[in-house]
Symmetry: C2
Subunit: 417 residues, 2 copies
């Protein structure tokens, strides 16, 4: 017997037939003798509809009222799934965030979970009852509904898994796991059996949109094993339980990964823009003069490259940011030209950042050099490079995106498994 | 300054534009210096959609889960109206049943309000805040959302008015008051300025679908003045406050009605069926033998007429029920034929019950006789009659429905005002 959290996203609960399919997945685990908590998102499209209404009501609106409106989507799904489970003869009940309660901070619209009083759920496991928990929501210190921000149901699921001491948190989604890269670009992409929390964090923030970044952070902090799997497989055909191996990807502690790969995956993000400030004075405080005003405007700068100055007095600063922020950024930098002291400003849009990720990089030298050589051999120009302990990224022109991803996927042997 | 409850139904909050119109009604009352609680229904169509989902999930479903799903409709409207009010510069916040709390009994799906801890609302009036309360819902002793049954938002509004000691409960609806009869049948129908609780109860249960019967009962018990008015009037054009006289109908205690009319209104219900059991033994217990089995099948019998038997041994029993129940009723009665002992059973469908209502009937004789004469003069056959203290009803063939309503409306002088 194991204790499991199963999380189902919007497309998995899009209508009553799909919700019934979810119930069959739950039944399989219950029949195998497991204690089960289910976390559900709103039916697909519902959250967007609710958000659109709050925006139509007022462009700037009270986040507490937004939360009241938007959290209703998960409330509906939780009740409907409980009904479908009962119809299959399974004891189940829905739980709203305020009923458990799932306590959050007061940051309505993007609240963080502070504590979950999970005893009530564990007690119900004792009488064989399945808990169906509305994801994405909790209750703030003001006794009002608080939502966790978009995609927050993943975070709800991991937080509940941590609170009840679950053996595993299964994230059912519309893909059957985490792949070495995007299969739409590289058909040879393979599903990974295991990925470390650290790698997943890099992949999640780099565009492999399988899991919310925050949920992975939380899983890492509480060492919750997260299993990404497909909700579209026929529920009865899948082996059940913590030691069975259904198709999917386990996201776990590095320690639990026996065979560590040097490179685990290739991620990419499109719509990157680049700004270069030419001949900036090379003196203390100049970085603050550039990035302070951008941060104040909530512009998220990513890669930063400072070229070594020839004479020690002036240098070039190049950095990337999302395409959507470029106009605002150029305006901010123009307004601060005197304070920064640059001689010229250049910018470019529509680039792609390709990243190579792997915990094995820590102990292997020359991993990046292999990539640079392979990209050069294909005639792909690298416009900027950043590295961290377990990944490095290159910025390239978007027309080379697919070629670069496939080249790197091949050069690190990810095609072969 | 007065304390007011304003209630808006589904069509009044059908979309963001209509919700904004509701906010303008609220603003008018706030600007006039009043303390305001608003009670809202779900956006029109939403409740039906949610109910349909629970039915699709399972024909027989847990009423607690039904309540969780269906109460979300009012939750959404309450948040959206609070946002619209804030956008107009009015301090407002939404309240769910569990937040106030509005405590109900445990009869999920058709719960009754047991208490409302209204102090929190009254405190907020003190700082000039408008309370936007989700109608139709409360919290049961099991700490779960409980709904009050269809149309329960009227009941929510009256209960909150009683709890906060409101000077008046304004029910905004798609008609501008209670009429002497259905204006679609009799264009000369007039809006009534005042109607007593007792009269309104008779009218509500007889098909003048302006107010839920339970809300009128509750208003009568707590002596809450209820004002029925239109939500489609331009909000700024209407005089405000408890002593102003905007267009509408005040439902109040008989004592508050100075000029009591003998007849206040003519109501009707369609789709009435009639069953006659011929030559039933005229002995004690025969009524129980007929109506007991029908009640056991939840068939609601309305008018009952027992003809005087000629020889004291056998009689005819005739009664009415809704058309929709007739097949079930005939089956039940056939199954109990031996026990009841009737010689023949006849039935007829598609009849109409026309009712004449007025508190003045208590002190006036001959009111019904006037009706019988007038109907006879038009050649309308009366198939059954029932009377109570303040109303009487006649059952007639449906083809005469409009003629009967217009005839009775005229004969009691309701055309003239």
């Amino acid at each position: 017997m194991a204790r499991l959290v199963l999380k189902f996203g919007g497309t998995s609960v899009a209508d009553i037939d799909r919700i019934r399919n979810v119930a069959r997945h739950v039944k399989r685990e219950v029949d195998a003798g497991h204690e089960v908590a289910v976390v559900v998102s709103a039916m697909s499209g519902k959250t967007n509809e609710l958000v659109a209404w709050t925006r139509a009501a007022a462009a700037m609106h009270d986040a507490r009222e937004y939360d009241t409106v938007v959290a209703s989507g998960e409330q509906v799904t939780s009740g409907l799934l409980a009904i479908c489970l009962q119809e299959m003869g399974i004891d189940a009940r829905s739980w709203q965030g305020w009923q458990i309660p799932i306590r959050t901070d007061n940051a309505h619209g993007a609240a963080r979970i502070e504590s979950i009083e999970a005893n009530v759920l564990i007690e119900r496991f004792g009488i064989g009852q399945v808990a169906v928990v509305a994801g994405f929501q909790g209750i703030g210190p003001d006794n009002r509904i608080a939502t966790l921000g978009r995609g927050g149901s993943d975070t709800s699921a991991v937080a509940i898994a941590a609170a009840i001491g679950a053996d595993r948190c299964d994230i059912y989604t519309d893909v059957d796991g985490v792949y070495t890269t995007d299969p739409r670009i590289e058909p040879k992409a393979r599903r990974l059996d295991r990925v470390s929390f650290e790698e997943m964090l890099e992949m999640a923030s780099l565009g492999a949109k399988v899991l919310q970044v925050r949920s992975v952070e939380m899983a890492m902090v509480h060492n919750v094993k997260v299993f990404v799997r497909s909700s579209f497989d026929a529920p009865e055909s899948i082996p059940s339980g913590p030691n069975a191996v259904p198709p999917g990807t386990l996201i776990c502690d590095e320690e639990d990964i026996v065979e560590k790969q040097v490179v685990t995956g290739i991620a990419y993000t499109r719509d990157e823009a680049q700004i270069s400030l030419r001949r900036v004075p090379d003196k203390p405080g100049v970085s603050a003069a550039i990035f302070g005003p951008l941060a104040a405007e909530h512009i998220n700068v990513d890669m930063i490259v400072q070229s070594v100055s020839e004479d020690g007095s002036r240098t070039d600063m190049t950095f990337t940011l999302p395409d959507g922020d470029i106009d605002k950024a150029l305006k901010v930098l123009a307004a601060n030209r005197e304070r920064i002291g640059y001689e010229a400003m250049q910018s470019d849009k529509g680039m792609v950042k390709v990243s190579v990720i792997g915990i094995g990089m820590r102990s292997h030298a020359g991993v990046a050099a292999t990539a640079f050589a392979a990209l050069a051999a294909k005639g792909i120009n690298i416009r900027a490079i950043t590295t961290s302990e377990i990944k490095f990224s290159v910025l390239i022109d978007s027309e080379y995106a697919e070629l670069a991803v496939r080249t790197l996927h091949g050069v690190y042997g990810l095609d072969k498994g």
